[in-house]
């Protein structure tokens, strides 16, 4: 029997027994749905972590010098936390020394943050992230301004009370009014708005556009940190190689300033987006390892169900098999007929699983901040998996059908 004929026949049988077919493919269906949905979400997370999360928080080719890691990954023991809290803070002098000690071209900026209310006329924006920074902060963050300008080096050095704000904060405080030149108050100190940063979107559902940046030496310094201390020094190199050199330079400068002996650990942290991505890829690896296991279990169960259904089908259609053999069907013809039917059954199940998995990923995408990105390979895997499971599960029933004796088979009622 030609292959096309076998497919047509299989589809007829599957369609004629819709109910039975539906139940028999449920295992494969669930496995594939799971595969597609989870892979889509992991892939989406992956893209998100690399494209947005790491670069938004830490920046590309950028490292941060901090007292202890700003992003803590995995379990941090209480002992480690105690050690972190005993570390000296990063001072203005540390920051200046690190900048001076770099042997490669780089952009550096200071960053210190706190949260406070911002008041304009009667309006109050509560609990806004207030950042004390130096003038290159905007360039380093790759923030373009949609209105006004960043503050100048002179304003930064003189600690002028000027403010660059996020677009959502601007909307909230001023609505349709032009924010530039307006005076707001933070903890009673007046600041003049000089610029608005264009929208940055959100991260895991948290807006990235509700912040205010003032020169580190302006009045915010009393808000964000003890005197002459910064949270972080940000250094952005031009390439990954330069970044490594710059990190080595910074490490050397800091170790020498703190008088650390070679055997002693760093009492500061140098953090890059690579570290975050490494951590993510570890989680990712665990998920990607667990996934085949979960999919495998449901698919194996599904395969066993299909095998039983096919054995039943062979038993029910013994007479048909006898007739076909009497009319000239060879063993191979009967074998092919049942293998194709089994494979088609499982592939239809996988197809439904793909559709449902994609829908599930789409729903997650639409209703949560989790981005879902469909991986074409997962669809290919699902189809091959479906057909493969069907073929494997059909092998035994099909060979039983093929070996039936035509005379015996036709005698069956």
């Amino acid at each position: 029997m030609p292959f096309r004929e076998a497919i047509r026949l299989a589809m007829q049988v599957i369609w004629a027994q819709k109910m039975k077919s539906t139940f028999s493919v449920i295992g494969v269906f669930i496995g594939v749905t799971f595969l597609i949905a989870v892979v889509s979400i992991i892939q989406g997370m992956n893209g998100y972590m690399t494209d947005r999360f790491a670069s938004t928080l830490l920046g590309v080719n950028t490292f941060q010098l901090r007292r202890y890691p700003g992003i803590q990954m995995g379990d941090v023991s209480a002992d480690t936390r105690r050690e972190w809290r005993r570390r000296p803070r990063i001072t203005y002098d540390d920051a200046r020394a690190v900048t001076a000690g770099l042997s490669v071209p780089a952009i550096t900026a200071w960053e210190s943050t706190s949260r406070a209310d911002i008041v304009y006329a009667g309006a109050v924006a509560k609990d806004i992230e207030i950042i004390g920074a130096t003038e290159d902060y905007f360039r380093l963050k790759k923030w373009n301004l949609e209105q006004g300008r960043p503050f100048s080096p002179q304003e930064a050095r003189a600690g002028m009370p000027v403010l660059v704000i996020g677009s959502e904060l601007a909307d909230r405080l001023f609505g349709s009014l032009d924010p530039i030149g307006r005076e707001v108050k933070i903890r009673g100190n007046p600041y003049r708005i000089v610029g608005v940063v264009e929208p940055q979107g959100n991260l895991f559902g948290i807006s990235l556009d509700k912040f205010a940046v003032a020169p580190a030496l302006s009045a915010v310094k009393r808000l964000v940190n003890p005197p002459r201390v910064v949270d972080a020094v940000l250094v952005q190199a031009e390439s990954i190689d330069d970044l490594r050199t710059a990190m080595a330079d910074a490490e050397a400068v800091m170790r020498s300033r703190r008088g650390l002996r070679p055997a002693e650990e760093n009492t500061f942290s140098l953090e890059t987006s690579e570290a975050v991505l490494d951590f993510w890829s570890k989680i990712n690896n665990v998920l990607m390892l667990a996934l085949p296991l979960l999919v495998g279990v449901s698919v194996v169960v599904g395969g066993i169900v299909i095998m039983n259904i096919m054995l039943m089908a062979v038993a029910e259609r013994t007479r048909e098999i006898g007739i076909r053999k009497a009319l000239g069907a060879r063993r191979g013809d009967i074998m092919r007929q049942f293998l194709v039917e089994s494979a088609a059954l499982a592939t239809v199940g996988a197809g439904l699983g793909i559709v449902t998995g994609l829908t599930a990923a789409g729903i997650v995408q639409a209703t949560t901040f989790l981005p879902a990105k469909v991986a074409p390979w997962s669809i290919a895997v699902a189809v091959i998996l479906g057909a493969g499971v069907g073929m494997t599960a059909g092998l035994y029933p099909a060979s039983r059908a093929a070996r039936l004796d035509p005379v015996e088979a036709m005698r069956q009622e």
Binding site: E320, L327, G328
Partner: protein, 232 residues
Amino acid sequence: MHDAIIIRLAGLTREYRMDAETVHALRGVDVEIRRNEYVAIMGPSGSGKSTLMNVVGCLDTPTAGEYWLNGVEVSAMDDDELARVRNREIGFVFQTFNLLPRASALHNVELPLIYAGVGARERHQQASRALERVGLGDRMHHKPNELSGGQRQRVAIARALVNAPSILLADEPTGNLDSATSAEIMDVFEQLQDQGQTIVMVTHEADIAARARRVITLLDGRVHSDTVREAA
């Protein structure tokens, strides 16, 4: 070519092992059947006529002896070769029709052509012609359960003839039909013989066997009598 030998059975023996016992279904049958003969095989139950039918139909293989079909020894063939012979050389008509219940009359008739590897369009034409030949040109898309017993047997005859087989092999073809319908089917067989078809028919009904020109009677696995009726 009119009296070329189509079937030659020589010392044909078939034994079945059933537990410890050996059943001798055929104990050395020697028969020759020529082209365009119309042969009825008779005998009481247990005489071996069903076994002979299965062996001649290549559904079963003899334990010993030779079976030559159209000059080819089929008694030594393997499973797949036998399937091919069934497909090309033999057209079966069964007592219980043995049609696929879910398939249309047309598709049932197409089945042997599918296994012969005939393309869809060609298959359709040949199957339609075969159905027209048995007077069912207007019932092609009916399912077996939408047809009467006589019509079902006609579908089976169309299916048996569609591959232009060397022999038409009928096993109690009227066993499930009333006498009027039986007579109709016998008329069809006679017409087929007139058109040159070789027919071998197993029956236990004497009046049905009487329609054939030659009657072979089996008893205890051996040929008991072999009589040729003079043409009327």
